[in-house]
Amino acid sequence: MPPWTVSKFPLVAQPLGYNLSASKGIVLSGTTSGVKSSYAEITPSTPWDADGFYLFFGPDLLGTNTQTFRIDIAAGSAGNEIPIIWDIPMIARRGAGNVAFFPLTVPAGTRLTARCATFQEAANPRGATVALTLMPRTYTASNMNRNNIAVTYGFDANVMFGSDIDPGGTANTYGAYTQITASTAHPIRQLIMFCNQHNNASTSAAKFRLQLAVGANGSEQTLIPDIALGNLTGSDGIVPTVVGPIPVKIPPETRVAVRAMCNITSVVDRHFDFSMIGVC
């Protein structure tokens, strides 16, 4: 028997912010400066206590422009929005649809909003589209932790990218570690990793393996070994862009670093950027 009690049937997830007339989500205005736009409302009030949500996000227009985004999800009344997740990264290459599950509690009656900032490569700044599927409180179990905090690590708001990961000039050999954070602010129970391809609009076909490690500089020990990544030369994107959430236990005040290997040595194309959101 599982160590939890199943709630009554049927359990139904609540879609929020979907625009059925366009087959996408709400639109977040694009900016040209990297400054975040005003909040757009996803829902004025969540219907019940939730144990997390799936966030579907992508560019609000289909086309070839490459554009860099960072998206915030916030809770609170109009004028009092507080980001609960910030700087979710996205590259708006063609077809850049993404999904990430955030296992965060959301109390009933919460107003949820979103905003974004963009960095444009081309002349026409785009916005983003987001939709959210709220997950019901499925289980009641004394040994299950519920999560209330999400912290973004490794994102550089000044350049709108995650931390630069360089596999190095020797093919199929791990490069040096890049520090994602010197010290985690909270414990991490669920880890969501984001990989993007800077604003590189002419990537090379490549395969990568990524390792996430913890520990002091020079004494890193692998925590998550060998995640597969690949460059898509059609859209100049790297996939998967979102990995996780993966269950982990990273204590607070832990240094986290990432390294990678790949099968190409191009000084530009071998690079990608990495950020992560730790949930506890």
């Binding site: 049927p10 059925l20 649809g97 299950m144 076909a205 060998d226 597969a228 690949g230 269950p247």
Partner: protein, 271 residues
């Protein structure tokens, strides 16, 4: 430190299926003509019980594949049947599967694809997550509910000829064999290499024909540059579905091209 309870081990995930001198994983040669190839040993197992695994997949070609994961080099112990993946050239994916895996459990993998001539290999690597380390829901079994043995695995979902309007429900299974506690959906393009850009929504519903109740909605984008949907995997989604329930899916999209609007989906339940 929360790690000290585990015999001083500092790293608690182990990967197997690596290829020395490569940035890929162990290569599994995929059978052609919709016929499974032979089993390839991918992982030999670890000396601890695992609470979940990560499956890494990497492909050289844009080709839909169906993969069987067995704990022996044969069909008698297939624990993941016909895992559907629809990648673009050089695509990769990491799947988190919340299933219990006993110590020293190896994995052998075989696969199939539709074309007759092309040789296709898929890189497959397994990451074992240490038992007791995680406080997440875990399950004993992963069942392929979209599979009709010998007939089809993935379902074609047609959003219909009217843009941004739900298409018809497509039955995934007429009745779940077990009570599902969580499910995973794999999205694909049925080997379409001339896709059209488009916004998509999909829904999972339960109930008899014409009385379907949507229980989960998601979104994706079709990419003509990649000839691939993004994302290709949704879940595991922790929703309970009673035993004996009919499951269906439907979609809507912003395009109407009779071929390109159709996507495929495979549905896996955990219990």
């Amino acid at each position: 430190m929360e790690w000290t309870s585990l015999n001083g081990r500092y790293y608690l995930m182990d990967v197997q299926g690596l290829t020395t001198g490569s940035s890929n994983f162990n290569l599994v040669t995929i059978g052609a003509n919709n016929t499974k190839g032979g089993f390839f040993p991918v992982a030999r197992g670890v000396d601890y019980d695992s609470d979940g695994i990560l499956i890494n997949l990497s492909s050289d070609l844009s080709r839909d594949v169906l993969l069987d994961f067995s704990t022996v080099s044969g069909t008698s112990q297939i624990i993941i049947s016909n895992l559907y993946w629809s990648p673009a050239v050089n695509a990769a994916i990491t799947l988190y599967l919340p299933i219990k895996v006993a110590a020293n459990t190896p994995f052998f993998v075989r696969g199939q694809q539709s074309t007759a001539t092309a040789t296709l290999t898929v890189g497959v690597g397994i990451v074992y997550l240490h038992k007791g380390w995680n406080d997440v829901e875990l399950f004993d079994r992963m069942t392929n509910y979209s599979e009709i043995p010998g007939v089809e695995v993935e379902r074609s979902i047609d959003p219909g000829g009217t843009p941004n309007t739900w298409g018809s429900w497509v039955t995934i299974t007429s009745g779940t064999v077990y009570q599902i506690e969580s499910f995973l959906i794999m999205i694909g393009d049925d080997d379409n290499v001339t896709m059209t850009d488009g916004f998509y929504l999909f829904e999972v519903g339960v109930g008899p024909v014409s009385q379907e109740v949507p229980i989960f909605r998601g979104a994706m984008i079709a990419s003509s540059q990649d000839d691939m949907y993004h994302p290709t995997v949704i879940g595991p989604v922790n929703l309970s579905i009673p035993q004996g329930t009919r499951i269906a899916m439907r979609g809507q999209c912003s395009i109407t091209d009779a071929t390109d609007r159709i996507f495929t989906a495979a549905f896996y339940g955990f219990d």
